[in-house]
Point group: C2
Chain length 422, copies 2
């Protein structure tokens, strides 16, 4: 779809409207926000036919432009998926409202009272591609945490997102909240996305969701602060003392249970002294599940029929049933490999050696570091957050699975009775 | 001082050395870090003559290049100030080490144990100007929280900072910690600063300290995440019901007690219905302390002898005994003025009206919002943090006075016994 030339005034007016709406949302009660979410859920069901029709137009255009099957699948919103989306919105109603929670507080020696309260961030910019479910998902989580959103959902999903945005705005307004809390820049294509990324006066945070390339592009171009999410070149290290049954099941679960997600295993490292003992069973179990193993020279000495692995493989989040496997001489070598290739998402060691476990936990610099557990546990749902905004792979503001509190900031409330500083 | 042409390889080698050193600091014990800080304090005293001599050279160069008196004062490190700096380092020893603190933790239904622990950020880039005390201050706070630092202390203080950096490195090494944890980019001037701001592979966060112009420049140029600190166009609003004695003392304290700091008052807004009752006493008290008042038309109708105020005044952090004063028709008008001109640092309302107090606290979007208290209370020391890294005026990661915990991130530690995800 061709996009008109960017009109910065038009976009600024939308961003200003989002900012204005965010002020109303900041003082909206939990009851108001929950009522709006219930409306969203109901309207998604009522307008399912309209959403599906728009989605079919996007899918036709996607096929015509040669989108890959995986992308077409992610782009698809059929009746069943819309019903699931409507259910997911109701789950957000059940989450605790973080706004107004007291983070800390005390009475100063002078008698001045200070309280640190959670407040919304304000306006959240979401940048993603060909995933129309994210439109509803992020707008619902943002609303519950009192934030307005500006959406960049990508050209491939533009018609679907137009309808979803209309549904969201109508539902907000039916609940007495401003529809302007949901805005888009998609009608200006990439130029609109760039405008959003520069709009420090209006937008408080950008959350890119998608491929490593998308996230890198946002980080490179953005002036608005970014929370990096998701890219996961995830490692597991089988130490010399790893139990064979655990090694087999942990590697299999981490790789196979859901290979297309960010906490799935991409690289298996095996201690030299354990390779002959562990690798045959580990690889048999993987290959029985259709995993394509790419191995280094020493792996291929044990199992000559597998493909060679390259440094590019080690640096890639395949999100498929491909697994890179290498043999290392020591824990130190495993740590060095992880330092070189990890995206700082999740790494796990399988070991019975206490010192090595503690060293791994202390020295690996990732959002989640595990011992004898599947990397698939790095997940907001598994961690008990109820919903997940994304998994932050950066160190500022949020690290690891992000729940609703990560969509808030804090504010100090100071109450005196004519108190001056001495 | 002229700077050689930037050699990116030389700088990258230093940044890589800082990163490597940060790995050692991340696992340093509190005892090791405190011993290094004690060495820093002792060496500052022992090498006072050398520091003073370097500082005199910077001061001579500053005078020759026409630096303003205020800047020359900030640049000065005499024996007394060095002793105070050495004392301040010992105060950091007394602070709690945030590293390793458990932020949250639970056992998941499956039996997997998850713990969220505080970990250092890694490498902190500090960007400031003509304040050599900040060199010691930020390096000490960074060390206590397990971080390496890369310093951009500005050309005006370059010779002083060279000696201070040598002191810091020697003290770290005397305690068995890597001197490489303290690096500089100052020898390449502005090009070095730009290199630092782009170095996402090595630097985890940038903290600019100084003028609004400096902070804006860093935000505009940086690819590394920034924590904005300090700029304070701080407002106080005297509501219709404000007590006269509180109004007089709160305005005076906020403006006069220390006018050169970021939490000092810059703009006073007065409710129309209270102006004739309150302004004469408020202004008398200010003028008796040498404050230069700039007033709008309605203020000058009450006090014709004062200077007129401009929008530029309202937008300026004077950091001097200048105060902008305006009369507004309502709380809403005060809130609108604050939205337009505030830097989101601190705002205070003086009122006895409960509804207005609550509206002000809820609706003003600043790091600290106060009722009947002096804006001077927004301070890490006053808040009980023991030391202050700066005052964040942004919403991500940290907001308001930053203590040592704000120089940390978190990491999820996950412990299983062969647990796979179902």
């Amino acid at each position: 779809m061709a996009h008109p030339e960017l009109d910065p005034d038009v976009l600024d007016a939308r961003l200003a409207a989002a900012k204005e709406a965010s002020r109303r949302l900041a003082t909206a009660t939990t009851a108001e926000k929950d009522a709006a979410l219930a409306h969203v859920s109901r309207l998604l069901r009522e307008r399912t036919d309209e959403i599906v029709a728009a989605n079919l137009r996007d899918l036709d255009a996607g096929r015509a432009s040669g989108l890959a099957d995986g992308l077409l699948d992610r782009l698809t919103l059929d009746e069943r998926r819309i019903a699931a989306l409507a259910d997911a919105v109701l789950e957000v109603v059940a989450l605790d409202d973080p706004v107004g929670q007291t983070v800390s507080g005390r009475t100063l020696p002078s008698g001045v009272r200070i309280d640190q309260l959670r407040v919304p961030l304000g306006v959240v910019g979401a940048i993603y591609e060909a995933r129309p479910n994210v439109t509803v998902d992020i707008a619902s989580l943002a609303l519950k945490s009192g934030n307005a959103v500006v959406l960049r959902g990508g050209t491939a999903a533009e018609q679907t997102n137009d309808v979803l945005r209309a549904v969201l705005r109508a539902a907000f307004e039916a609940a007495g909240l401003p529809g302007d809390a949901v805005q888009t820049v998609d009608d200006y294509g990439r130029a609109g996305a760039r405008h959003l990324m520069q709009a420090r006066d209006y937008v408080d945070v950008l959350i890119p969701r998608g491929s490593a390339a998308l996230i890198r592009a946002v980080v490179d171009e953005a002036k608005v602060p970014v929370i990096e999410t998701g890219a996961g070149v995830v490692h597991m290290f089988l130490d010399e003392s790893a139990r064979e049954d655990w090694a087999v099941e942990l590697v299999h679960n981490a790789k196979v249970q859901r290979p297309s997600v960010c906490n799935a295993l991409e690289t298996l490292l095996v201690h030299r002294a354990a390779a002959e003992r562990l690798l045959p069973a580990v690889l048999d179990r993987l290959e029985a599940s259709g995993v394509t193993v790419h191995g280094d020279e020493r792996v291929r000495a044990i199992r000559p029929d597998i493909a060679p692995v390259t440094d590019e493989d080690f640096a890639t989040e395949h999100m498929s049933l491909d697994l890179s496997v290498g043999i290392v001489d020591s824990l130190d070598d495993a740590l060095a490999h992880i330092r070189r290739f990890s995206t700082k998402h999740t790494e796990s060691i399988v070991t019975n050696d206490l010192s090595n476990a503690e060293r791994f936990l202390n020295e690996v610099d990732s959002a989640a570091v595990m011992v004898n557990a599947s990397t698939r546990f790095t997940d907001g749902g598994e961690f008990g957050f109820g919903a997940e905004v994304g998994i932050s792979t950066q160190k500022l503001h949020a690290r690891g699975p992000m729940g609703l509190p990560e969509l808030t900031s804090t504010k100090w409330i100071v109450r005196g009775a004519g108190h001056v500083r001495a």
